[in-house]
Structure formats: C-alpha cells, structure tokens
Amino acid sequence: MKLSRRLLVLLSILLSFTLIAAACGDDDGGASASSLDDSLGLVTVGSGEEIQIRSLEAITGDVAFLGIPNERGTVLAIADYGPIGGHDVNMGTGLDDLCSADGGQAAAQTIVSDESVIGVIGTSCSGAATAAAPLIAQAGMVMISGSNTSPALTSDLQGTAGENWVAGYYRTAHNDLFQGEAAATFAYDELGIRNAAAIHDGDPYTNGLASAFKNAFEAKGGEVSGFTAVNKGDTDMVPVLTEVASGSPELIFFPIFEPEGDFIAQQVGGVAGLEGVTLMAADGLLNDNYLGLPESAGMYFSGPDVRYGENTNESTGKTANDFLAAYEAAYGEVPSAPFWAHSYDATVLLLDAIKASSAEDGDSLVISRAGVREYLNGVTNFSGLIGSLSCDAFGDCGSQKITVIQDTDPTDVEGAKNNVVFEFAP
C-alpha cells in the first residue's frame, strides 16, 4: 500500500494547488473607458502592443487557389493602411478554414481564445463560415468575408434574414441570389435562350449558384431541361453532358472549378446533341489559366466586375493596379482568383472601423467592440477596389454588381476580362 498512499498524497497536493490557483482568479476589470460603448466589451491595446486581427482562409486543399490570394489581399491591405493610433496591426499566422464547417469551427476556437482579437477577415468558403461566424460573433468580434456568397449567411435580399445569419457577420462579396439572377437574365433577355441546363459539382457554392440560376431562369419563363452534377475528381464528362444533351439545351451554365470545368469545355464538342450549344461559367473559372484555354473561346463568364483597374480604395488611396503590381513583386505570380480585391476592401473596412471606434488613453488604445459593429452597420458608399460598398442590415456590404464577360480570344486574357457584354445591378 506504500506506493498508492504516496500517490494519493501527491494527488491531493496537486489538487489543492490547482484549487488555490483557480481561486486567485483574475480580476483585470475594464480599462477606464471614456465615452466608448462597452456593451460588447472593450479591448485595450497597451503601450507598444499591436492591434490583433486574424485571417481565416482556405489556404490548403483544392480551394487554395481562392484562399491564398484572399490572405495575401489582407496582408497587403494591412501594410498599405499603416498603424492606427500609433499601434501596428498584426494579422498573426494566417489560419486555415479547410473549406469545411469542422475546419472553420476549430480555427474559430483558436481565434476566440485570444481575447485581444478585434475581427477576422474570412472565411473563403460559406460552409466554414456557418460554423465559424457564431463563435466569432459570440465573442464580440466581427467577421468580414471577401468570398462567402451563400444567401443563408446574410439575407434573401428581400429583408428576410438567412438561416445562418448572425449579427457581427459581414461580407464584401456579392450574394449568390444576385449572380444567379444576373446569369439567368443575361441568358434569357440578352441571348434569347429559352432552354438551358445547369451543372454543379456538389460543392455548396456551386450547388447554390446553379440552383439560383435555375430558379431565376424558370421565374422568367424559361425551361431548365437539365439540372445535374459532376463529382470532384471526375474526368470523363461525356456521360454528364449526354445527360443534359437529352433535353437539347441551348445553353449550359456550369459554375464549377478547375479541372472539371476544363473537361467540360474540352469534351462538349464530342457529344451528340450539343452541337452549337452556348457555354457559360461563373467566377470559379474566371482566372487566367482557364481564360487562356483554346476551348474557352466564345464562352461567357458571370461574376463580380473584375475591371478593378483604376478603382481606388478611399482609405489607403491605392488603386487595384497598384495592388496587382505590389502582389506580383511580393509573390512572383498573378492572383489565381478575383476575390483578393474583396478581401482587401474587407480588411480596410475593418481597420477603418477600429480607427473610428477607438480612443487613445495615454499610450494605449481602447477599442469598443460594439463600436466596430456600429461603424460597419453604417458603411454607405465607401469607395473600394471593387467599387462602391454599402452595408445592409444583414451584413451584405459588397457592390452587388454582376457582369458577364465573353472570352472571344483565349490568347488575350486581359482583353477577355475587359470584354463586358452585360452588367446587372439592382
């Protein structure tokens, strides 16, 4: 029994020690706040300390093409913005949302466990946001995404909150409902198409967009003769194209990603019944590699207005061209997806909000969490890289303008991006 008694003693010592430690809990108390709204708490950034924000994007896996430029957009925005009240802004290590609900949740736990964080830029994927946003919001932080587009996260644009909407969530990307409507309007009104088909790839984003297109197209009186999906990793697209071919559509809308999008464009010519069909994709394929494919000649692409060009962010004074130059200099390549601009503007909005809702207290800076939200709720006609931004009651801040471009010449990618054939704005 000797051994066990000794263990018991050890255990009880350990226990009492931890209990004492727990009893001496912290009572930091609030910083002597001035007139700041402290309903969600205040954050004090001490002398010489940094203001903490975080980036949460899909930087690994098959959506990394989207997440990596987003993260870099945030990095460059912080650098352009400079310090706030003498305090540098620190993004920490870029976190990974793994483009999934579980990944988003785990990363969000990491973020909220650091109570000095004011806000998060992200996520890349709407699925990750559904799990991450409630955690972030509950901690009094805000989350601004540059590429979530699911209507469930904000509203249906008619004043009804989406089922996953939480206060404290904002985004600069457009709402899917818009893009679906824009694509359907273009196909029905401009191209005069009455019979269309839609193909998605089982991703919540592509599925949502294809459904939005279907609903809008049918609402206009058109017929969607085929609505189906491929699986990620599929290579042989003849079966899926044959499936939609049986309805003899005049247009196929496939808002999917690479490489499956490449296969559809390459193999559509060999399927009986699809001769002369019009192809239309969305922003998932709106990148230089795809626009350069010989088979993408003549295709239409719906998406955000990517003629960022000389658009200027009013807070940093930088234009999109400045940004692209800085991006290439820093990373040796061009961005692989167009949402870097949305992330840049999202970051600047957050930093503006911090600036507006903080007060200097000696050498330290006191930031009001409620004030940050209040500022963001009131954003109207902010001029950013993506155009004019105004936040609605459910966090949709993006410029809800959708354009359709046509790739007439795959050897001239820049020309294709500027070849806007249709604009859609409410």
């Binding site: 579980d102 559904t130 409630p134 919540p204």
Partner: protein
C-alpha cells in the same frame, strides 16, 4: 561492455556504408528543400532569431544519419567494436555529404531555372539555403553544418551513456517545448502560471536564447540526477505481489480518471477543442478496433456509420432539416441513432461478411462512398439537404448544462461520456464469449466455424457494435459543429481512423487511445488541426512516412496487444530464445 574489441583505427572505415548513408542524407535534404518545407515553415520561430521550424526540418536529418551510420552493428548477437574517434569521422563525413547535397542544390538553383515543373526551385529557397548571404556562403556553411551535426549525432554513441542520455533528453525537451508553444502557453495559462510562459517564450513567439540555455542545463541536470530512479520504481513495482500490484494499478487508473476529469477545467478553448476532436476520434477508433482489431474484418468504409450518426442527429434535431424536423431531444435521438446505425450495420454487413478479407475491404470502401454520395446527391437533397447540408443543429440540452460547439469543454465531457461507454463495452466484450469467438475468427475462420462458432452472427455483431460506436461519434460531431455537410465524410476519414487503430496498437484499448492522442492530437485529423497546426500541407506527407516507418519497424503499434505482438514477431522471439540459450518455445518466458 568490457569484452569489446578495442576501437578500430580512424581510417579503418566502412566507406561503402558512409557513402550509402551520406547519399541518403543528401537525397532526403534535397527532397525536403524541394517540397518547400524550409521556406513554408520559416515563419514559425522556435528559438527567437536563431532557429525556425523551416530550418529544423533540415537540420535533424544529418544528426540522425550521423547517429545511424555509427550505430553499432549487431551481427549474430556480437557487437562489432568499441566506439571511438573513428565513429566521429564517419558521422562527420556522412553529414558533410548531406550538406554537400544541399550546397549542390543551391548552386543548381542559382544557375538553372527549373521552376516550371518544380514549384520550390525558387529564389526564396535559394535565399533560405544561403541564409541570405550569397551563394558562396551557402555552400560553405552547409558543409560545415552537415559535418558538425553528423559529428554530434555520432557523438551520442561515443559519449558515456549517461551524458549522451542527458544531451538527448535536453535536446528533445527544447524541441518539444518550442514546437508545442501554443499548447504549453494555453496549459500554463489555465493554471495561472503565465509567469513561466512569459519568461520562457519571447514576445512574438519562440524561445529566447537565454531560456533555451537555461532549459538545456536544467533538463540535463535533472536527467543526470534522476537517472536510475525510473528503473528503481519499475523494479519496485515488479516486485509487488499480485493483489498489491492490482491495487496500485487501480489507484493509478483512478488518478488518471480524476486528472482527465479535472484537466479541461484548466485548459483554454484551443486545448479543449483539441481534446474534443481527439475524443471523437478515440470513439471512432474504439469502434473500428472492435471490427478490425478483434474480429479481423478490414472495414475501409467505416466513415459511413459516422455519417449515418451525424445525419440522423441532424435530421431529427435541426429546425432546418428539409424533410421532417421533429426537433427531438438529443437523448431520444441517441436511441434512434442506435437503432438506425445497427440496421445500416446489418444491411452493409450482411452482403460483405462472407467475402474474403481484401474483397471485403474494397466493397466496404465502396459502401462508404455510396453512402456519402447519397447524402450529397441532388436526388436525396429533399431529405438530407444535398450539397447544402443541414445547418442550425441545436446544442445538446442536458438540463443542468448545454453542450455546444462554442464551448468545447462541454463537448469534451460529452465525448468522454461516450468514450467511457465505448471503453466499457470493448473491455467487457474482449473477455466475453463473443469476444473470444471474434478472436477465434480472426485467427482462423474455418477452424472457428468447425469449433461450432456461428461465424456469420459473430461477425455481424462486430459490424453492428462498431457501427453504433461510430454513430455516437457522428451524433456528437453534428451537435458540436452545428451543421453537417457531406464533405466531412470522405474516404480519407476511414483511412485515418484505420491508421489510428493500427499505429496505436490493434486490438488494444489503451493502444487505440494512445494512437488517437498521438496522431489526431499532435498531427491533426483530416479536417481537424492538431498541435502541429503549422505543418498544414505537410501533414499527410508525414502521416504517410510515419505509417511506412511504423509498419517496417513496429508493426504491432505503439501499445501492442500481447497476442498480436507474438504473431508478428514469432521468428524474432525464436531467434532471441536461441541466442539466450532458452530452447523451449514458451512465449511467456521469452518475452519476459
């Protein structure tokens, strides 16, 4: 050790061996540099201003190779020669060849452009290799570093055993303390010992130089002083008679349980989240352990039952469920989950159990995919939400507390509860009639059948029990994440669970738990970050390498099951027995 031959002459080297290890060292280093580890992991600082995780990914190789090249060769039980300066030279040469490999790479990157296929043939890699000091510096420094590390590695053989041990332990501690910074900070914060972290780590992460030195000295001293204590304790424990040993065991497990129950109270969100994830995988691994470890059925579609548990919970509790949404209480849901999982287990099990081992593997893998595709499909989306999944799954209301994803501590306790059930079931089953039937089937199915065991029923039972345990995990997972998408149930999950079981020790409850803690806790799960979150894209690469290494060196797993270990090492046991002069085949005696 005294009867060894005297050290051999310095130049009396096994040149072929040096060349072999040297080129292996060089190849590994070049490979690591080209997959981009040094550059991508460079932002993670281990020792402020001196060492990043990126450089660490390179420098451990020459050290290990130096250690291996001078490792004593045991031929027929006879140790070759006493260690001496000769071995230091061997280590140095091996390390230098490795360093030369990196130097060569730097020169090649400097002069040729292969960035087109090779992503990391980049200026950043070159700069990293040169320490930002120009190509000439880079070439020289890697020869030096390689040589020095090689000597260091081989020196571990030459130094007196105690010193070598102290140095080794100190280095490992520094590596662990710096790599696990987040976890340690979180842990110490929970115990209100922030003054330790403040003095240990520099302000923006990483150990400071001073604290590194203090840590090394401290740990080395402790190792030297504590030498032999552990063995003494072990001897004491072995000397206890059976009832006392039992009570000691009991006390220890009791203390373990208390610690496990109290620990989460002192942990922050990151660590609790980690524990909750580990718990979910422990639950899955315990279930698969019954199927694979006890009954010997290789199920590669195990994730299907995880998905069934998750989706059943989502449909029955979420107000957003597209089909029926009765919004039942979690307690009732669990009962329904058990029934549904058991039914699916039977339906999947019945067609496959008569199949031969490997056919069964591919068919179960197929079933796993079929079930995921059905949940994903547009066809069934009016029932299960398709690609949009099911969101707004409510927290578990326990009356006195709420289990929800935003409070990982509560999730951990819930998982712990289910793990306790799973452990109890596994433990009871192992010794039961059914458990013995499973083991008999695993050893030889025909003989088992001849002995009157109803193999079909026994195997189906394994399937059903495994399915139920996995569905528990799925149910908790759904409540934890609050939403459910088909992308959480890829084949990869099945494979990772299997890896956890195998690496931990198949057929052994403790082993399976250890496996989950080590793999999921440290490296991370398929979509769950582990302690080494920074590894990011390299996680699966390390998984793969670790798996091959384990299977080659320790196929019985980290905590082996005694019976399986015998199966795997029969020949070695016999060999050992022959060497030790024990001629009879009594396994008990040989292993002792």
């Amino acid at each position: 050790m005294n009867e060894l031959a005297p050290p051999r002459q310095i130049l009396d080297q096994d040149w072929r061996r040096i060349l072999q290890f040297g080129s292996l060292c060089a190849l590994t280093l070049v490979f690591i540099a080209l997959i981009g580890m040094p550059v991508q992991l460079d932002t993670r600082i281990l020792i402020r201003r001196h060492l990043s995780l990126g450089y660490l990914s390179l420098i451990w190789i020459p050290m290990i190779m130096g250690y291996l090249v001078s490792k004593e060769l045991v031929l027929e039980g006879i140790i070759s020669a006493k260690k001496g300066p000769r071995d230091l030279l061997a280590g140095a040469l091996t390390g230098m060849i490795g360093g030369a490999g990196l130097s060569l790479l730097a020169v090649l990157i400097n002069n040729f452009d292969l960035r087109d296929p090779l992503l990391n043939w980049s200026p950043q890699t070159l700069e990293q290799l040169n320490f930002g000091n120009g190509i000439g510096f880079g070439i020289g420094i890697w020869l030096l570093i390689g040589g020095a590390l090689g000597i260091f590695g081989s020196a571990l053989h030459v130094l007196p055993a105690l010193t070598a041990k102290a140095v080794g332990v100190a280095l490992m501690t520094v590596a662990l303390v710096s790599i696990l910074e987040t976890a340690i900070t979180d842990l110490l914060e929970g115990f209100r010992l922030t003054f330790i972290t403040d003095s240990l780590y520099a302000k923006r992460g990483g150990l400071s130089v001073v604290s590194t030195i203090v840590l090394v000295v401290f740990v080395a001293l402790v190792t030297v002083l504590a030498a032999g204590q552990g063995d003494a304790l072990r001897v004491k424990y072995d000397a206890l008679d059976a009832p006392r040993r039992k009570s000691a065991n009991l006390t220890m497990s009791f203390a373990g349980v208390i610690a496990l129950l109290l620990l989460p109270l002192f942990l922050g969100k990151i660590m609790n989240e980690l524990l909750a994830n580990v718990g979910l995988f422990v639950l899955l691994a315990l279930g698969l352990n019954i199927v694979v470890g006890l009954a010997g059925i290789l199920d590669l579609g195990y994730v299907a039952f995880f998905a069934v548990g998750g989706y059943t919970t989502a449909v029955l509790t979420s107000p957003n469920s597209p089909w029926i949404s009765p919004e039942l209480h979690f307690g009732i849901v669990i009962l329904i989950v058990i029934v549904i999982a058991a039914m699916i287990g039977l339906a999947v099990g019945a067609p496959v159990i008569r199949m031969r081992g490997d056919y069964l593997a591919i068919v179960t893998l197929g079933f796993g995919e079929i079930i995921r595709l059905l949940f994903l499909s547009d066809w069934l989306s009016p029932y299960f939400g398709g690609a949009q999944g099911i969101t707004n799954i409510p927290p578990v209301d326990l009356g006195f507390a709420e289990v929800k994803g935003s409070d990982p501590r509560s999730v951990f306790y819930l998982v712990l509860f289910f793990c306790a059930i799973a452990i109890y079931i596994s433990w009871r089953l192992q010794g039961s009639r059914l458990g013995r039937a499973w083991m008999a089937i695993r050893e030889d199915e025909k003989v088992a059948e001849a002995m009157g065991i109803n193999t079909v029923n026994a195997k189906l039972m394994a399937f059903v029990v495994g399915a139920i345990l996995a569905s528990f995990s799925g149910a908790v997972f759904a409540a934890k994440v609050g939403s459910i998408f088909p992308s959480s149930f890829l084949i990869l999950v099945s494979i990772i669970i299997l890896v956890v079981v195998i690496v931990g020790g198949m057929g052994n409850i403790t082993g399976v738990i250890v496996g989950a803690v080590v793999l999921i806790g440290v490296l991370g799960g398929p979509k769950q970050p582990g302690l080494l979150q920074e590894l990011g894209t390299f996680k699966l690469l390390i998984y793969g390498a670790l798996l091959v290494f384990m299977m080659l060196k320790r196929p019985e797993g980290l905590v082996p099951n005694a019976r399986r270990s015998h199966e795997l090492h029969q020949e070695e046991f016999l060999q050992d027995a022959w060497l030790k002069g024990i001629v009879d085949d009594d396994d008990e005696e040989v292993t002792a």
